[in-house]
């Protein structure tokens, strides 16, 4: 086994697995192009081959030198390795990936429910509200004690909510959430600075630059978004 650790083998297996998965999918676009004999799949497959070679090269490097140091001084300056971090256990990874899955559950589950129950638009909106509530509750319960996982998932959750609930309603909650996850606990200061940041963003982008931000499309979130646009512009 040389200097290999399980992590090295998992890392190489992930790369090789990705290559295999994408290689199988590449048959979907293995089509001839009249003026180009290599077709549409040669370039992507060459990249997959090189990834596989580099992954094996990295594995051999680990086998010979273990984790080793960064190979160059420049690389050492960029070494953000997780060594010495509390956020490196299997349990941490599992909970973090669970948190990261929550936004995608929200993005897919309401449509699936609406499809199964043949719901119209108002029904779909209700399903989205209920699923969003559950997702937020699960997020709050899960991220306690795992603030790094929480900060990784919160922006994606915010992005997933933008289409339905709009930037105008979601931004203040998002700003306060990020402050909390970064360790701020002085609630009065959080509210004052959070609202100040929100006002600055609104004035600069919406009032001065007329940037169109998502207003949302569900019930009073949409009404709130359009009212804000009318006031600011």
């Amino acid at each position: 086994m040389g200097n290999l650790r399980t992590g090295h083998i998992v890392e190489a297996a992930l790369w090789l697995g990705l290559c295999l998965f994408l290689y199988i999918y590449s048959f979907q676009f293995e089509k001839e192009i009249e003026i180009y004999k290599f077709g549409a799949s040669a370039w992507p497959r060459a990249i997959l081959l090189l990834i596989a070679v580099a992954a094996v090269g990295q594995l051999l490097y680990n086998w010979k030198k273990g984790d080793g140091g960064a190979t160059s001084m420049i690389a050492q300056a960029h070494d953000d390795s997780s060594k010495g971090s509390d956020h490196n256990s299997l349990k941490w990874y599992l909970w973090t990936f669970f948190l990261l899955a929550l936004p995608f559950i929200y993005m897919n589950l309401p449509e699936a429910i609406a499809g199964m129950m043949s719901l119209e638009k108002p029904g779909l909106h209700s399903a989205k509200l209920i699923v969003a509530g559950i997702v937020v509750l699960v997020y709050i319960l899960t991220m306690r004690g795992n603030y790094v996982g929480g900060i990784l998932a919160l922006p994606i959750l915010f992005g997933a909510f933008l289409q339905d609930f709009g930037f105008y309603a979601m931004a203040p909650i998002f700003i306060l959430g990020v402050m909390y996850l970064f360790g701020e606990r002085r609630y009065k200061r959080m509210v004052v600075i959070g609202l100040g940041l929100y006002a600055l963003l609104m004035i600069f982008f919406v009032s001065l630059l007329y940037v169109g931000l998502p207003t949302g499309n569900i019930g009073w979130f949409y009404d709130f978004g359009t009212t804000m646009v009318n006031i600011l512009q």
Binding site: T71, I74, S85, F174, M179, L213
Partner: protein, 496 residues
């Protein structure tokens, strides 16, 4: 003499028009601010402003974008140095030594070097651009066909693979991830969808602006979040200590070398300031007697990359104005400005709109000069941003990034892509991969594949055809030698 008269004419036209002056200074300050504020970039500003240029004259529209280009490339250096968040990929190498300098309490000196070298590189480039536009463009166009551009992309990626990642193999994997992302969408020859998984969003390809915002701005926030949780977060020390004249003189060869590299890279379509700064930095490392100092906060690292990327700005205008070939995202947006006014950039612009060309040239010259003055004043404002506690700065950066990602195409999925890229970047960075390498691969991937396809068609699918083209052959050989050297170093040397 004719060039000088044309330049004077352009300058007089520029500064005798009150609206032109307002737009010029608006572009100078806006470019710097958007380049400097973490989470947004000059591309964000340009994307936001693009629809409004329909209300401006073509001269004002193109001049505004060219000024934003010059000062934005510099502005990105400020955040690269102070926050380790390059405003755009062309500032990524600036962070390699700039950020360690900040951590060593030399933020002011690093920013000062960036101000001076950006101004020097940009101004010299603008002057050469004015003098040599026609002959250089003619040479590059006649000497550089698709085989040469593909060979240069390959050489650039081979050189860049050794930068930023923990090992050589992870450097290559980083670049290959970027190339892989660039493949998603329609293939450049036959328009066949690849890895779209029947999702309309993926059919158009993953847009590089949300990806860049994610990998740089968002990832940095996540990394800082973990550092705080580990208790290893350190607020940078503040100081304003511009480098002395003697220090700059001591680095004169680095400045000259970077000007040449930057200009050469900038003139080639699709290569531009990003590769210029990487190559400028890499050459500085290669020529240095004491390579071990790089990455720890060496002034020459900042000087080399900042001179090179600004030296590319003037050069990048040559293929755009002479041939209508945009070299990057911002010059591509300039094509959009031309098209909004029913114009096509290219040789006819020189014939039909000589005034426009010379107003733009004069504006770029003065924009680079103004970096020296406005840059000095504004940098102090930006440094004050460091006094803001990170728990208040982080939500602001994330919200600005959200607006920037959304403003490009008005799609919320771009915001999600940005944050997912940020999370992926976080995991990759803590595993020793290079996000700068990913972005370089992403940007050069498309042009690499396109020029490879064109080259193979030109060479009748004969690989030996490359040997018959000396420049392409030399670049390919140099790229392979760089690769072999890196592989040898990875396995058989203690440290490269």
């Amino acid at each position: 003499m004719e060039t000088f008269n044309n330049f004077l004419g352009g300058a007089v036209t520029l500064f005798s028009d009150p609206l032109g002056i307002v737009i010029f200074f608006g572009g100078v300050i806006g470019g710097m601010l958007f380049g400097a504020i973490p989470g947004v970039s000059m591309l964000t500003l340009a994307a936001i402003l693009l629809p409004f240029t329909a209300h401006l004259s073509p001269e004002h529209g193109i001049m505004l974008f060219s000024v934003i280009y010059c000062t934005g490339v510099y502005g990105g250096a400020i955040t690269a140095i102070l926050f380790n968040i390059p405003g755009s990929p062309e500032n990524a190498p600036t962070a390699f030594d700039g950020y360690p300098m900040t951590k060593n309490g030399q933020a002011g000196k690093a920013v000062g070097a960036a101000v001076m070298c950006s101004a020097i590189g940009g101004t010299v480039s603008a002057v050469i651009m004015m003098i040599a536009t026609a002959p250089i463009a003619n040479w590059a166009i006649s000497a550089f066909g698709p085989p040469e551009i593909f060979a240069l992309v390959f050489f650039g990626l081979a050189v860049a693979s050794s930068v930023g990642a923990k090992t050589f193999w992870k450097g290559w994997l980083s670049i290959l991830i970027g190339l892989l992302i660039a493949v998603i969408g329609l293939d450049p020859v036959g328009g066949i969808p690849r890895w779209d998984f029947n999702m309309p969003y993926l059919l158009a390809g993953i847009h590089f602006i949300p990806t860049i915002l994610g990998f740089f701005a968002v990832t940095e926030i996540f990394v800082q979040a973990e550092n705080r949780a580990k208790g290893s977060y350190q607020a940078p020390k503040l100081s304003v200590d511009f480098p002395s004249f003697a220090e700059l003189i001591a680095h004169k060869f680095a400045v000259l070398r970077s000007i040449v590299i930057g200009f050469f890279c900038g003139i080639l379509p699709g290569i531009g300031a990003t590769l210029a700064s990487f190559m400028g930095y890499n050459e500085a490392v290669r020529w240095s007697k004491d390579k071990s100092e790089f990455g720890k906060g060496k002034l020459e690292g900042v000087i080399s990359s900042e001179t090179a990327n600004n030296a590319a700005t003037g050069a990048a205008m040559i293929p755009l104005l002479a041939l209508g070939l945009p070299g990057g995202a911002l010059t591509a947006m300039m094509v959009g400005v031309f098209q909004m006014h029913d114009m096509e950039p290219g040789p006819l612009v020189f014939l039909n709109s000589a005034d426009l060309v010379w107003v733009v040239f004069a504006a770029m010259f003065f924009a680079n000069i103004s970096i020296l003055f406005v840059g000095y004043l504004e940098t102090k404002t930006i440094i004050n941003l460091l006094r803001i506690p990170f728990q208040f700065l982080a939500p602001m950066i994330l919200c600005l990034a959200t607006v920037g990602a959304y403003a490009v195409r008005g799609l919320t999925i771009d915001v999600i892509v940005m944050f997912v890229a940020g999370a992926i970047g976080f995991f990759l960075r803590r595993s020793g991969y290079s996000v700068a390498g990913i972005v370089l691969g992403l940007i050069l991937g498309r042009i690499g594949e396109q020029t490879f396809a064109q080259a193979m068609q030109m060479l009748h699918f004969e690989w030996s055809g490359f040997a018959g083209r000396p420049i392409a052959a030399a670049l390919l050989v140099a790229g392979f030698l760089t690769l072999l050297g890196s592989i040898y170093g990875a396995f058989f040397k203690k440290q490269v």
